[in-house]
């Protein structure tokens, strides 16, 4: 039972990752990660 759940979740994880990649999410992640928004890290 558990091993089936795990296999299902693995498939879900991979599918989710690939779907996110196809949507161009890494580029959006990158954007936020290369410019500091001061308040976002607790300045101000």
């Amino acid at each position: 039972m558990k091993s089936r759940l795990r296999a299902l979740l693995f498939a879900l994880a991979l599918g989710s990752l690939l779907f996110g990649l196809s949507r161009g999410e890494p580029a959006a992640v990158m954007q936020k990660a290369v410019l500091l928004c001061l308040e976002c890290i607790g300045f101000g």
């Binding site: 410019l35 928004c37 001061l38 976002c40």
Partner: protein, 186 residues
Amino acid sequence: MNKILLRAAVLLLLTLLAGCAAGTVGNAGGSPGAEAGGSPGGAEAAIGLAVGQTAPDFTLTLNGGGEVTLSQLRGQPVFLNLFTTWCPPCREEIPALQKIYEEYGDRVSIIGVSVTESADVVAEFIAASGVGYPVALDPDGIVAADYDVQFIPQSWVLDSDGVIADYIPGGTDEAGILAALAGVLP
């Protein structure tokens, strides 16, 4: 140490290493670029990012069409606001900027520059936000590099000769903008 653990750890570490190796090969930007061409001669202040220096020049496409060249705005003070559409404090100061634009727009040039963002994202945002002042696009981060932009928002106040008079790190409000403009408004 147990083999399985060792293998798992090595695997995870190798993934990290691969990512880092790929990363360190290419890093664009982050270098202060204060040399934006030579000054046209004469008594003009040196180009740089300190108060008293001439702000680096740029030419950018405007959201909605057209272009803007910083040096052509001389004759009036300039309030240059570097921002992105996703940054909360950037968005919070937009109403203040809009208000100042409506009241003082004939005496000072308010320019927003969206750094490292694509034209369609900015267009969408501007249409929804009711911003009336000109917003320039810097999708390749050239102005960001020239102005050594590591964080946003930040605002630069230039006098009518294009010389840097003040600098605001982080977000500001109407009072802050007016205080910064006090020195350069006629």
